[in-house]
């Protein structure tokens, strides 16, 4: 008899845990906004990327790894895109030349819960670096 | 000329376990209960029949009775409903059953035994089973299923070893108990369970020994104890106002080697001057109701508290017994309590308050004696047991329903000098059953018992070869009754004794005469005898 309290408390906990996404959405308010993908800042100077947007979304990490292999191991820096355009295989210069790390990469990564990729172990974000450099050298 | 005279018959693959077919063979089944015993207990469908018969003379609406009975029990016992629901058939229990190890019959795997019941549960009590039937693991309830239940539920000793290994604690004993209750509803019971139950109910003990016979037995024991020690013994019966009511399994006063244990008790009580009484009304601690139904258990158990109240004792002491203690420890207070007319047990010699028996007010004799020995209240001469090289068999129920593991061991270490444990995975909570408990310990079932007792005997054989063990001590009346037979077959040369028999041997009583022989009448080893005499001299 007395154990029913415990059983139903446990059951309530389980149900709460199972339905947590709904509660979370309510608690964080404005569910309508939250369910939309983050507002990504697209480059102002370019209309298209090195591959179609769908491919880039799903497989940009593999492309970046491929680029790294080509450049570091084989010294191959030339990338011919799907539309025939030629790009330099470079995260800092090509990707970050157009995209803003904070407004583009990080936002989307945070949204989809992908923890920091190890790109930034070696690479600098040119914009932050540029900013700090201007400050440090008057 | 045939190729082979006896056609080679390869074991047929068992295929689907749901195809129920059992071949009953003499020697490995218990016979049905005599109608007079059913009548005496008011149980349904008394009739003359045998499991070997083709027609079991079930009542016409037996199927409805079984299903109604199942429904009732599913609503009354959470254990039953839960254990029907949550088994995942991981197989951890499979090789834990002594009957499976001894017989290799796959339906003796605990999970398979339970599936015999579960398949019916699924078919008639679950949504998926009702819709999908066989695909959902269900099967139709037929007379063959009933026969199979009878065969396999009277082939489980409710020892609970499998439950120790189950990740969900599924206890096959619970399922067996339910199975037997259901079989009882349609009058399928065994005589070895019901006759003792009927006797216990009417007369007070399982052989139906009447009060005067009971007194004779105890007087005889008292005389024998007197002869051994040269002191006077008197066993009080139904004495009002005693401090302690002593309840023992009835085998202790008519079975051998139980009888030597009784001598041990009597000598212990005489030596410490315990103010006790035994009762002719509650003259049986062992509870054959446990092997039949919860109701029967309660009916038989009720006598103990009723008698304690009538006699006005302060608390109750219980003798060495296995299933008896399962009932006393886990069921008695719930069924027939509260025992508020009794006091919390206190050892009159050491002043130890038995806090663990605060509510039930019933203490196990091993707890009591271990406490006495620990406080040095007994003068013991372990050399008197030098003829024995002992091992200790944890009786299932004290081990797995109470956890009474160290008390008997501490007694044994004090009263004998040669003590060796059996291998680790055959003792304590992993102890192997004797294969004869729960109402299977009858001679007609001997072959099944020999199979079931094989794993235990195997461990005994090991210590016999390794350490020369020649005595198996235990604290269960069924063990004492059935293990001598099993050991005679499997490990000849090992005897069986109760722990208190060795206590009785080692106990140096105040003013006792020179003891030359142990309780069995065997002379003490010469060296020990000399030492005892010297002790005696010093004592005087």
């Amino acid at each position: 008899m007395r154990d029913r309290v415990w059983i139903f408390a446990g059951l309530a906990f389980f149900v709460a845990a199972l339905t947590c996404p709904a509660w979370y959405a309510v608690a964080n308010g404005k569910a309508s906004n939250k369910s939309k993908p983050p507002n990504l800042e697209l480059p102002a100077n370019q209309k298209e990327c090195v591959a179609p947007a769908g491919t880039m979304r799903a497989a940009h990490m593999q492309m970046l790894i491929q680029w790294r292999e080509d450049v570091v191991r084989h010294g191959d820096r030339r990338f011919v895109a799907f539309n025939g355009k030629v790009y330099e295989k470079s995260l800092t210069r090509t990707c970050l030349g157009c995209h803003n790390k904070e407004q583009f990469c990080d936002r989307c990564h945070a949204y989809s819960g992908v923890s920091d990729p190890y790109c930034w172990n070696c690479h600098n974000d040119p914009q932050t670096v540029a900013g700090s450099r201007t400050r440090s050298t008057p | 000329m045939p190729e082979t005279l006896v056609q080679i018959e390869l074991k047929p693959p068992h295929g689907d376990w749901r195809d129920s077919h059992v071949e009953f063979r003499k020697g490995s089944i218990c016979y049905s209960a005599a109608p007079k015993n059913l009548t005496a207990l008011g149980l349904p469908n008394p009739r003359a029949w045998q499991p070997l018969d083709k027609d079991w003379k079930l009542p016409p609406d037996w199927k409805r009775i079984i299903l109604d009975g199942m429904k009732e029990r599913l609503d009354k016992y959470r254990s039953f409903r839960l254990f029907m629901d949550i088994c995942v058939r991981c197989g951890a229990c499979a090789d834990k059953c002594h009957f499976y190890l001894g017989s290799s019959d796959p339906k003796n795997m605990p999970v398979a035994r339970a599936e015999l019941m579960r398949s019916i549960y699924r078919r008639y009590f679950t949504l998926t089973g009702r819709i999908f039937g066989k695909l959902a693991g269900g099967r139709e309830l037929t007379e063959d299923v009933i026969k199979e239940w009878f065969y396999y539920f009277y082939q489980c000793t409710e020892c609970r070893r499998c439950s120790v290994f189950c990740p969900y604690g599924i206890d096959t004993a619970e399922i067996t108990m339910m199975g037997r209750e259901l079989l009882n509803l349609i009058g399928c019971n065994t005589n070895w369970v019901l006759e003792p139950a009927a006797n216990c109910f009417r007369v007070g003990n399982h052989l139906g020994i009447q009060p005067h016979g009971f007194k004779d037995s105890l007087d005889f024991a008292a005389d024998e104890a007197a002869e051994i020690t040269g002191l006077d013994f008197h066993v009080p019966i139904n004495r009002k106002g005693a401090e302690v009511l002593f309840v023992m399994p009835s085998a202790d006063y008519f079975g051998t080697p139980h009888y030597y244990t009784l001598l041990g008790y009597l000598m212990l009580f005489r030596e410490i001057g315990l103010d006790y009484t035994v009762s002719a009304y509650a003259s049986e601690g062992g509870n054959f109701g446990l092997f039949s139904s919860h109701e029967m258990m309660k009916r038989l158990n009720a006598k103990i508290y009723e008698e304690a109240k009538r006699l006005g004792v302060k608390w109750i002491l219980g003798g060495e017994c296995g299933h008896m203690w399962r009932v006393l420890h886990q069921y008695m207070d719930t069924m027939n309590g509260p025992a508020d007319f009794l006091g919390v047990p206190v050892s009159p010699l050491t002043g130890t308050v038995f806090e663990n028996a605060r509510s039930t007010k019933m203490v196990h004799i091993c707890e009591f004696t271990a406490d006495l020995i620990h406080h040095g209240k007994l003068k013991l001469d372990p050399r008197r047991n030098d003829r024995w090289i002992a091992t200790y068999h944890d009786s299932c129920n004290p081990a797995r329903a109470m956890g009474l593991l160290e008390e008997p061991r501490s007694i044994l270490r004090a009263v004998c000098r040669n003590f060796h444990e059996m291998p680790e995975n055959t003792i304590r909570e992993q102890t192997f059953c004797c294969g004869s408990g729960a109402g299977l310990g009858t001679d007609e079932n001997l072959e099944m018992r020999l199979r079931g007792g094989f794993p235990r005997a195997n461990a005994v054989k090991y210590v016999k070869q390794k350490h020369g063990v020649n005595l198996l001590t235990c604290i269960c009346a069924i063990d004492k009754a059935t293990l001598p037979t099993l050991l005679e077959y499997w490990v000849p040369g090992v005897e069986v004794a109760g722990v208190h028999e060795l206590v009785g041997n080692a106990l140096v009583m105040t003013g006792e005469k020179e003891r030359v022989a142990d309780l069995r009448g065997e002379p003490f080893p010469a060296e020990a005898y000399a030492a005892t005499t010297a002790n005696e001299a010093g004592h005087a």
Partner: protein, 341 residues
């Protein structure tokens, strides 16, 4: 046979998932209606099952004790394996649920040179433990799709799981462990004749279904790729009760979704309820204190007993002759006989 049927059942589900991925109306049904129906079945079914157990009383106090009881103060007792208090029970249950204590007993673990050596039978314990823990980890990791913003612990788990950053996207160890453990459990059922003999349709079905879910998930992550933004959008939409399936969701994803829904809906009707049942098991969740505290049976059945008075009536003469004291003396007989004490 059981194995074959259950494999077919799971394959049918997989095919249905792919088929649904093709047509727009089917996609709509699968993405909007099915998840809610399955989730409702899970919630209601689960609660119903647990409530059914909860409303059945525990009439008797029947713990299985696996160690020394608490009796005399000078005897060390097994606090966890034979608990005497509520906290002892909590530890016993924790060991049972978190570490599969009872299953571990199965092993012949021994200490050799300071190292714990496990026998071969450890595989069942080890694999089930690995399987259950990684399953939990994987489910928690999926929260990143259902919660916005993503809680820090979910990110931490993800980092931990892909700690060695093998490959891109980083290989989750939980995926590897889960699939291998499940494969082992499945093969065990096939290989061991005793288990094969016992296994039912539902035993294989649960394994095949989970395996199919794992495989579709792994395919999506490492091989065919999926647009994680649309997936998250979809998941958040479900959580906020505004379902909608974007065209970017692949057929494989819908297949994964259907399998998960099937599992959720199936769970309350299956042996998978052991996840809640284990908490309720009366042989484990009761303290071994039945002699020090009275356990109440709510329906304590009234029974016909053989009262002392009736008994004495029956054996009066014999008792008198044997000199056993009587409760009610025959006035004609010598009353002193019974009052010797």
């Amino acid at each position: 046979m059981n194995a074959l049927y259950s494999l077919l059942a799971v394959l049918a589900l997989v095919l249905a998932g792919f088929a649904c991925g093709q047509g727009a109306p089917a996609r709509m049904v699968l993405a909007t209606f099915v998840p809610y129906a399955a989730f409702a079945a899970l919630l209601i079914g689960f609660c119903w099952r647990v409530a059914r157990w909860a409303f059945v009383p525990v009439p008797f106090h029947i713990p299985v004790t696996c160690g020394q009881q608490k009796s005399l103060v000078w005897i060390r007792f097994a606090k966890i394996d034979n608990p005497s208090t509520r906290w002892g029970v909590v530890s016993r249950m924790a060991a049972e649920i978190l570490l599969f204590r009872s299953l571990f007993r199965n092993n012949r673990a021994r200490l050799s040179g300071g190292r714990l050596i496990l026998g071969e039978s450890a595989s069942l314990w080890l694999c089930s433990l690995a399987f259950h823990w990684t399953l939990l980890l994987i489910m928690l990791r999926h929260l990143r799709l259902f919660l916005e913003p993503v809680p820090a612990f979910v990110n931490a788990l993800e980092r931990l799981d892909g700690y060695f950053q093998i490959g891109v996207p980083p290989l989750y160890f939980s995926d590897v462990i889960l699939v291998s453990a499940m494969t082992f459990l499945l093969f065990r059922r096939f290989r061991d004749p005793a288990l094969r003999y016992l296994s039912l349709f539902s035993d294989y079905f649960a394994l095949f279904l989970l395996l199919a879910i794992a495989v579709t998930g792994i395919l999506m992550r490492y091989f065919t790729r999926v647009d994680i933004l649309s997936v998250k959008q979809f998941a958040l939409g479900l959580a906020a009760f505004r379902p909608g399936a974007s065209q970017a969701l692949s057929a494989l994803f819908l297949c994964h979704l259907l399998l998960v829904c099937a599992l959720a809906a199936y769970l309350p009707f299956s042996k998978l309820m052991h996840m809640s049942g284990v908490f309720l098991s009366p042989t484990r969740n009761l303290a071994n204190n039945s002699r020090s505290q009275r356990h109440i049976n709510p329906w304590n059945a009234p029974v016909k007993t053989h009262a002392y008075v009736e008994w004495e009536e029956e054996f009066r003469d014999k008792m008198q002759a044997a000199g056993i004291p009587l409760e009610i003396e025959n006035e004609t007989e010598d009353a002193g006989n019974a009052r010797t004490n």
